[in-house]
């Protein structure tokens, strides 16, 4: 009896002292001085702040009064790839291990909505139509939808974007071996790198193997359009007047919705273009090799500057009109 008491007492001590201190420790470890200068993959500006996300589940928030980036705690260590805010307060961040985080206080605190490392796929983009309805997309056609603000996420499989021979193959497999069918279809779709609204009704998704697809029903059904390029597209920029898609090896194309006649803009760089930002008379692109280009309305692309030794992945303009870029060496203001 005494022995039993002793053990349970010991167990209690163990639980109350040792394990909490360890996990608390683990949490604290996420906040690190180098988070600001290490790999960051996306940045957004909200009316009151800026938020950037990156490796090891890092989220940093810009504080206008102090002009400083402050790291906030998140419940994940996975590489985050994209962040999206529907208004000043509500936002979502997605990333590897099929992670979806949500904030309701402008990015100060984050809660896990989805975490599925067993999928072995990353989310690469997230888009909300309103506070309740949204989609998250990712590698190998990963596609999840929520209708309750992210309380629940459910999978969708966009068979319509498969090649025809793959559709036939899968149909055959489905009748023969359900198990094999499910595992096979895991990797048949191309990566969905970016999903973006192009007007009130239409969505566009771009990705691997020159994928460009349009949906008119909030992404329930897509139809692929003829692509001007067989390599990967990483991003879409909708300036209102024109639509740009950009990707591997300096490829940049322009069209006017809904005309969809692609014009290739020849660029002086051979490295991937990862993102672009609309300026009054031009657009600014950023990419691997630290290449920052200026593309005029007349479609003349010039290298504006090059941040050697780093890849730039995303950029945003703050409320004061300054441009910020993020990438393999963290976040910095463009001078």
């Amino acid at each position: 009896m005494l022995k039993k008491c002793f053990f349970s007492l010991f167990g209690l001590l163990y639980v109350s002292f040792i394990s909490p201190s360890y996990s608390a420790n683990d949490q604290r470890l996420q906040i690190q001085p180098l988070a600001e200068t290490s790999l960051l993959t996306d940045i957004v500006a909200t009316p009151s702040s800026m938020i950037t996300v990156g490796q090891h589940g890092h989220v940093l928030r810009y504080d206008y009064p102090s002009s400083q980036w402050r790291q906030v705690e998140t419940p994940t260590k996975s590489l985050l790839t994209k962040v999206f805010f529907i208004d000043e307060m509500k936002g979502w961040a997605v990333g590897h291990d099929a992670t979806i985080l949500h904030t309701a206080d402008g990015g100060l605190t984050w809660k896990m909505q989805m975490f599925a490392p067993e999928l072995e796929k990353p989310f690469l983009d997230v888009l909300f139509f309103d506070a309740q309805h949204g989609v998250a997309v990712g590698a190998y056609g990963l596609f999840y939808r929520t209708i309750d603000g992210g309380q629940h996420w459910s999978e969708e499989f966009h068979q319509e974007l498969l090649f025809e021979e793959d559709i036939a193959y899968l149909a055959e497999l489905k009748t023969e071996n359900e198990q094999l069918y499910l595992s096979e279809r895991e990797a048949l779709l191309p990566h969905f790198n970016r999903i973006e609204r192009i007007d009130e009704q239409h969505l566009m998704v771009v990705g691997e193997l020159g994928l460009i697809a349009i949906s008119a029903d909030q992404g329930h059904l897509f139809s692929a359009v003829d692509s001007p390029y067989e390599g990967s597209f990483f991003n879409i920029l909708n300036t209102g007047n024109a639509l740009y898609v950009m990707g591997l090896r300096g490829h940049l194309f322009k069209t006017v919705w809904p005309d969809m006649q692609w014009l290739q803009i020849s660029t002086p760089s051979q490295t991937s273009i990862n993102a672009a930002l609309a300026q009054p008379d031009s657009i600014t692109t950023v990419g691997n090799g630290g290449v920052i280009m200026n593309v005029t309305k007349a479609d003349v692309a010039t290298i504006e500057s090059q941040q050697l030794g780093q890849d730039i992945v995303a950029l945003a303009i703050d409320k004061l009109g300054d441009i910020w870029v993020v990438g393999s060496k963290g976040v910095q203001q463009l001078k």
Partner: protein, 767 residues
């Protein structure tokens, strides 16, 4: 019994003096021959505490990952741009030249010209890549443009190419053995080859060659150490003048100096006999031996002089002086020897060598200056004109000094000493371990080597200040996500520690390779979850990268530090230890340490750990020897207490002068105590005798001063002069040692004539 034996021995020596002197001459010739064979020697392995746990890890993996013994050659084009024909020709030649210097591990020579330096780029259908310098490379403008683009793609800017493209790097690791002869690598010869075959051959108005690495440093230290010969000559000259002023006789100056030089010859000869070379650090030992020899020689001629004046013949006087000094002199020298021997407890080869060579050197002084010197003196025919007036003047001065042994003065002295001691103790607590300055601490801040070090640190993102954490796992461990993930975690935590500028490991490289496999998209900079993709990523990292061994059961994490100051190392090591205790499990062990800073960390820890035991041993030994020779606890305390105060003050001085406790300065305290005890022993041996005869403390002290005072002061000055010439050494550590030893010798002498009598007054106040 003992005294009778001593008398018989002394009798024998003087009866057979011709024979004994002949034996000495013969021995000097033989050992002189051996001494002429002595070589400079500076092996890397001697500088490290081999039994320290970090060094066990280091040695275990040294073969696979290379050790800390590497060489970096930065070739700079002073016009600011390397892309021209002459530069590339020179770079190629230097690469080849270094490759062929015996002792270089040829598998690990790295520059843009080595075939393993490759670039990869992402194209639509996967990777494209090749060597940075293509096979058909020509130094035309087109060829150089291709290379320039390849350099950017290969991501070697900062490593093999300077950040501003004004210099290129050739790196190599050294073997411990010369592969042609199988003999241990002659570091100094290697350093000379670097200097002659690389720097002298290729440096011109446009091309600058910067060379750093342990071998080069050892070479520069050895070159600096050669300047020591000049200091030795100067020390001899000044000492000769001092002794002449004291003795006022050329013969009495020449004889103790000659005997001391014989001691030095014996010491150097014996080094060769026991198989040692002369290390830049132990080069101080001949100075010490000479100075200690002279100081004992001075005691001897002083004693002979006093006996001759009292009416004995020179022969009788020499014999009596020998008899009276054999015991106190012998004890003093024995305690020096024991003091040095305590250094043997420190597990660093170079300190042990110092201990052995210094012990040998001091032991031979017993023969040369306590036996040979009086024998030689006995052949002389000395006579002294006694200047009573001058003598009286001197004695008056001694009388004034003897006031230190009156209760009133004693109290003041003791209170003051206590205050100074308290201040010293407080300061000494702040004494730092290790090197406190950047660059090579052995060399001056503005030496060529350190300028080169700072150049490379400024222009490349790598430094020699690297510590690697060895991750020991199981065969094929790198194909498991959880293993690499843990290494990645550890690396990230350590990257954030203050003092770490950058890091590298298989995990972080595999992450970048994985991004490369995913079209170079930075959003895929992760460790793939499934084994197939992970193997693909890891498979692109060759074992020559130093990031993994053949079966990837061992994967180091490299930490590049801002510097190797003791505080930086301590912070990093403490954090590694803390994280390792949390993260180590059955499969995975994070172990300290390899790399140059790993060695420093081990050395610092070994030095810090050795300090207290060493002090205990050296004081224990001195205590016992005093107890045996005086057979009085009071006398022992009176000798040791001033010594202890002075060694505390020496530590305070180290704090004040920013000298860290390092391999070079650790032995100084032991040497200072071992030698400093001589003064007390000489003064107290007379005092105790007089006290036992029933005299008062002040009278006893006065008589001791009359008999030994001038010799003690002269000894202190001689010793201090011998080591103070090092202030001007090209080597920083010799300067540090010079400062500290000069302080120890002088202040110990002062303490023996000021604090010792005050303590004696207090201890013997009843009688």
């Amino acid at each position: 019994m003992f005294n009778r034996g001593l008398l018989a021995f002394e009798n024998f020596l003087f009866k057979q003096r011709a024979f004994v002197i002949a034996v000495f001459i013969l021995l000097t010739l033989v050992l002189g021959f051996f001494a002429s064979q002595l070589k400079m020697d500076a092996a890397f392995i001697k500088n490290i505490p081999l039994n320290h746990s970090y060094m066990q890890t280091y040695l275990k993996h040294q073969k696979q990952f290379g050790g800390a013994n590497n060489i970096m050659v930065a070739i700079e084009d002073s016009r600011g741009d390397i892309f021209n024909e002459t530069f590339f020709d020179t770079l190629k030649q230097i690469h080849d030249q270094l490759f062929f210097i015996p002792g270089v591990n040829r598998a690990q020579v790295q520059s843009i010209f080595s075939p393993s330096t490759r670039f990869t780029e992402v194209v639509e259908d996967g990777f494209a890549g090749g060597p940075v310098i293509p096979a058909d490379f020509t130094t035309t403008e087109a060829g150089l443009t291709v290379v320039r683009n390849n350099i950017d793609k290969a991501g070697i800017v900062g490593r093999l190419i300077a950040e501003d493209y004004s210099a290129a790097m050739v790196k190599a690791q050294l073997l411990d053995f010369d592969p042609q002869t199988g003999e241990p690598l002659d570091t100094l010869k290697f350093a000379k080859q670097l200097e002659q075959q690389l720097r002298q051959q290729f440096e011109n108005e446009h091309i600058k060659v910067h060379i750093i690495g342990f071998a080069k440093m050892a070479g520069d230290i050895a070159d600096g150490a050669k300047g020591v010969l000049l200091f030795f000559v100067i020390a001899i000259a000044i000492t000769a003048i001092m002794v002449y002023l004291f003795s006022k006789s050329i013969l009495l100056t020449a004889l103790p100096l000659a005997c001391s030089l014989i001691a030095v010859i014996w010491q150097l000869g014996l080094l060769t006999v026991v198989g040692f070379g002369l290390d830049p650090m132990s080069i101080l030992v001949p100075f010490l031996v000479f100075a200690i020899g002279v100081s004992h020689g001075v005691q001897m001629i002083n004693a002979v002089r006093k006996k001759v004046i009292s009416g004995l013949t020179t022969y009788q006087a020499a014999s009596a002086a020998c008899l009276s000094l054999l015991v106190p002199g012998g004890v003093a020298l024995l305690s020096d020897t024991v003091g040095f021997m305590t250094l043997l407890t420190i597990d660093i080869g170079i300190i042990r060598e110092l201990a052995i060579s210094a012990s040998l050197g001091v032991a031979v002084i017993i023969f040369t200056n306590l036996i040979l010197l009086p024998l030689l003196l006995s052949y002389c025919n000395l006579s002294f004109s006694v200047n009573t007036a001058a003598e009286d003047k001197v004695n008056k001065r001694w009388y004034r000094l003897s006031l230190f042994a009156t209760p009133k003065c004693a109290v003041i002295i003791l209170v003051l000493s206590a205050l100074i001691y308290g201040f010293g103790l407080q300061q000494s607590a702040n004494m730092k371990i290790g090197d406190l300055q950047g660059g090579a601490p052995a060399l001056h801040h503005d030496s060529r080597y350190n300028i080169d070090t700072f150049y490379i640190a400024d222009n490349f993102s790598i430094t020699t200040d690297v510590i690697s954490i060895i991750v020991e796992a199981f065969p094929e461990a790198c194909t498991y996500h959880h293993v690499l993930s843990k290494i990645d975690d550890m690396e990230w935590q350590l990257a954030n520690v203050a003092g770490v500028t950058s890091t590298a490991s298989l995990a972080s490289v595999a992450k970048r390779v994985n991004a490369g496999f995913n079209e170079g998209n930075p959003k895929w900079t992760v460790l793939p979850k499934n084994t197939a993709s992970l193997v693909q990523a890891v498979g692109r990292v060759p074992t020559t990268s130093g990031l993994l061994n053949n079966d990837c059961s061992v994967m180091p994490i490299y930490l590049f530090l801002t510097d190797h100051k003791a505080e930086t190392i301590e912070t990093v090591v403490a954090e590694v230890k803390r994280l390792a205790t949390v993260m180590n499990d059955e499969q995975l062990k994070f172990k300290l340490a390899s790399g140059p800073v790993g060695v420093m960390a081990a050395t610092n820890e070994a030095v810090a750990k050795a300090q207290v035991p060493m002090m205990l041993y050296v004081y224990g030994a001195v205590f016992l020897l005093c107890l045996v020779s005086f057979r009085s606890l009071k006398a022992t305390i009176a000798v040791i207490l001033p010594l202890y105060i002075v060694s505390t003050l020496a530590q305070a001085l180290m704090t004040y002068l920013n000298i860290g406790l390092a391999v070079s300065t650790l032995p100084v305290i032991a040497l200072g105590v071992g030698i400093g005890v001589d003064y007390g022993i000489y003064i107290l041996s007379t005092m105790v005798m007089k006290l036992r005869q029933g005299q008062g403390v002040q009278q006893a002290y006065y008589e001791a001063l009359v008999e030994r005072g001038s010799a003690v002061i002269l000894t202190g000055l001689t010793l201090a002069i011998g080591v103070s010439t090092w202030f001007f050494s090209a080597l920083k550590f010799q300067m540090d040692m010079g400062i500290l030893l000069t302080f120890m010798f002088l202040v110990n002498m002062l303490a023996a004539i000021i604090i010792l009598p005050a303590i004696a007054t207090f201890l013997w106040r009843k009688s």
